[in-house]
């Protein structure tokens, strides 16, 4: 057995590992193992959806083959362990790009489907699952299910955002979208408070494909921040930025993100960014994936790891709920410099357990300080409950079960599609098995 951690590094429990290397043998590999298993790709989810202590992880990164790509239609078929990075590098030179991508491209296609990930353009193009034409699911009883929006749509809706619990995704067909090149016209606009944020968001949604904001979660609950927006740019060829990678070499003995470092960092970041030119031409990699060049940045939170708290609240109560949460966080003194605030579009999610819903989403990292951190989360949960919001499973390691059930009303419908021999720490914690 091998100790395995997820991105939050909160645990390193032993797991049995089975590598899936040949799609035609996946059925055999997952059939009737001695322990329940769950598919595991790059392990980039923060909490426990990709973990199964003492059970089996079916490692999907060996399923890394492209199957076909039609340059005229932008239809790409690939195995589920292909990384989003490899799709972007393959497709962008041919004028195609992934329509939806999360903040890291170091995730597998299977993981992106199972967590129905979203990106900065959710208000225009929805989430990852919106662009899947069909997928292949292998069940532990040997069954093979092909599904998509027009083929067994119930299985599709269960599997998109289904956290790997309906079977092992082995293959998918993705509709890419046209893009003039790897560059974007980007703009950074400082905002002084949440009202300004919402005004900027409203103003930007029709004209800008990508919108996101960094929010200062420390300075007095005021909610100042930097609003970033971007559109694909047609500017021909120019030299690409050098992809210099740095690695966080070790996990420091204590979190580098702490009460001492946060305030000066946030102050400096806000003011330095404000000085930079508002408009720029930015390569897609630093724009979409700002942290991918700092490999293993999750180590900076020290040996105890960190939590991410990402929730969405309906638009009508969005301002007040976010304000209340920021106030609690500022009061606690804990918080992150990776605080992100973004509005989602008014579209229904594809999956029964998909996270995005109309409203505004707030994401923050917190170093793991045990009780102190859980106390803060309980206060944030109370605000969230009141606002009828929900927490993103891909980021979660601790939400209370009643909050999960209240946030995901299609849960009981979803349970019918679960594979009885698939289980994760998350599913045991919040679904009972």
């Amino acid at each position: 057995m091998i100790p395995v951690s997820s991105w939050g590094r909160l645990s390193a429990d032993p797991h049995h590992i089975i590598s899936l290397n040949d799609p035609s043998k996946v059925g055999e590999a997952v059939h009737k193992g001695p322990h329940p298993g769950v598919a595991h790709g790059m392990g980039r989810s923060y909490g426990d959806v990709c973990l199964n202590p003492k059970g089996t992880l079916w490692l999907t990164t060996g399923l890394d083959h492209f199957i076909s790509f039609d340059q005229n239609t932008g239809r790409l078929v690939c195995e589920a362990g292909v990384l989003l990075r490899d799709i972007q590098r393959l497709a962008i030179p041919h004028g195609w790009i992934l329509p939806a991508t999360p903040g890291t491209q170091l995730v597998t296609v299977g993981g992106a489907i199972a967590n129905d990930v979203h990106g900065k353009n959710h208000h225009v193009l929805g989430s990852f699952g919106d662009h899947i034409q069909n997928l292949t699911l292998i069940r532990t009883d040997g069954g093979v299910i092909h599904c998509g929006p027009n083929e067994q749509p119930d299985w599709f809706a269960a599997t998109v955002g289904g956290l790997g619990l309906t079977g092992v995704i082995t293959q998918a067909e993705i509709q890419l979208r046209r893009v003039p090149g790897p560059w974007l016209n980007t703009e950074t606009v400082p905002y002084a408070n949440l009202d300004e944020f919402f005004r900027l968001a409203d103003d930007s949604e029709t004209e800008w494909e990508h919108t996101v904001s960094w929010i200062d979660c420390i300075s007095g609950g005021g909610g100042r921040g930097l609003f970033m927006r971007g559109n694909p740019a047609d500017i021909g060829r120019r030299p690409e930025p050098p992809g210099r990678k740095r690695t966080m070499p070790i996990a420091p003995p204590v979190s580098l993100v702490n009460r001492l470092s946060l305030r000066p960092f946030n102050l400096a970041y806000y003011h330095l960014k404000k000085l930079q030119p508002r408009q720029a031409i930015t390569h897609y990699e630093p724009f979409f994936y700002p942290l991918d060049n700092l490999l293993e940045w999750n180590r900076m939170y020290g040996p105890k790891g960190f939590f991410q708290y990402q929730c969405v609240v309906p638009r009508a109560v969005g301002r007040d709920a976010v304000q209340a949460m920021l106030r609690e966080i500022a009061k606690s003194g804990d918080g992150s410099f990776l605080a992100v605030l973004k509005t989602f579009g008014n579209r229904l999610p594809v999956g029964m357990l998909s996270f995005p819903q109309p409203g505004v989403t707030l994401a923050l990292d917190f170093p793991n300080h045990g009780e102190r951190t859980f106390k803060l989360f309980a206060q944030l949960d109370a605000i969230l409950r009141e606002a009828k919001g929900r927490i993103y499973p891909a980021k979660d390691a601790r939400m209370p079960r009643e909050l999960f059930e209240a946030g995901y009303p299609r849960l009981s419908e979803f349970m019918k599609y679960r594979d009885p021999d698939i289980s994760s720490e998350f599913s045991r914690r919040l679904m009972g098995s």
Partner: protein
């Protein structure tokens, strides 16, 4: 497309070989011939490479790895289509040592597939390359071939055979246009080492190993250790006196 590099990979479905192929196609198209024993797996690799590099030519050749006549005719058919710039011989298996000790036929199979078979492939292509006095033969050996150890000495013996063979071939082609390169990967994350992975042995990522191999072949090195640290490690291992070595549990 003309002027494409002609690359032949024997054992093309091996993870290291496949990652080398991806790197060869990354910057410019090439003419690839994938030689293997399983048509289904070869097709999977070929389809992937065609998506990555639509302008490349990717051919599949089903072949026998043991029978000398079959190996010879496979090589002749490939060479008929034009001279080969790079031949990469990459096939192999890694059995459990104790199972080799228990079964003579597994012992023989291991020696054949990891030792004799690569030599036969190299030898038959060498004949053609000698005629045109150009081409590169790159053979994947292993750090296990540097010194016999109780944990994998049958596999190690086969790889040691490849080592000595490559040395001789280098001698034969010294000063000619034919290059012979011996590659010695350390334990690498591939399906072949799945058992080691489950024992939590630290393994090198396959894409990094492939990158070192492709760069080393480009630079025309005689011997490529991948990752490089294994050169130093094996230098030490080779020089430990037997009296000491045989007491070590490695």
């Amino acid at each position: 497309m003309k002027n494409m590099k002609r690359i032949v990979i024997v054992g093309a479905t091996s993870a290291i070989a496949e990652h080398c192929a991806r790197l060869w196609l990354k910057d410019r198209p090439a003419d690839l011939t994938l030689v293997g024993r399983d048509s289904h797996r070869l097709e999977r690799v070929a389809a992937d490479l065609k998506v990555r590099s639509p302008d490349s030519t990717v051919r599949i050749v089903l072949a026998d790895f043991i029978d000398p006549e079959a190996i010879q005719s496979t090589a002749e058919n490939i060479v008929k289509q034009g001279p080969v710039d790079i031949l990469l011989i990459a096939h192999g298996t890694l059995p459990v040592q104790t199972e080799c000790q228990a079964s003579l036929s597994l012992c023989r199979d291991t020696l054949e597939i990891n030792g004799i078979s690569p030599v036969l492939y190299a030898e038959t292509f060498a004949k053609h390359m000698a005629l045109v006095s150009r081409g590169t033969i790159a053979i994947i050996g292993s750090v296990a071939g540097d010194r016999g150890r109780k944990s994998n000495y049958v596999y190690g013996a086969a790889k040691g055979l490849v080592d000595r063979y490559a040395q001789g071939l280098q001698h034969r082609f010294a000063g000619s246009g034919v290059r012979v390169i011996l590659i010695k990967p350390g334990p690498t994350q591939t399906p072949m080492t799945a058992r080691l992975q489950s024992l939590n042995v630290k393994l090198a990522p396959v894409d990094k190993v492939a990158e070192l191999i492709v760069k080393g072949i480009e630079a025309g090195r005689d011997v490529i250790y991948a990752p490089k640290k294994w050169q130093l490690i094996m230098l030490i291992i080779r020089h430990i006196p037997s009296k000491v070595f045989n007491k070590l549990n490695i």
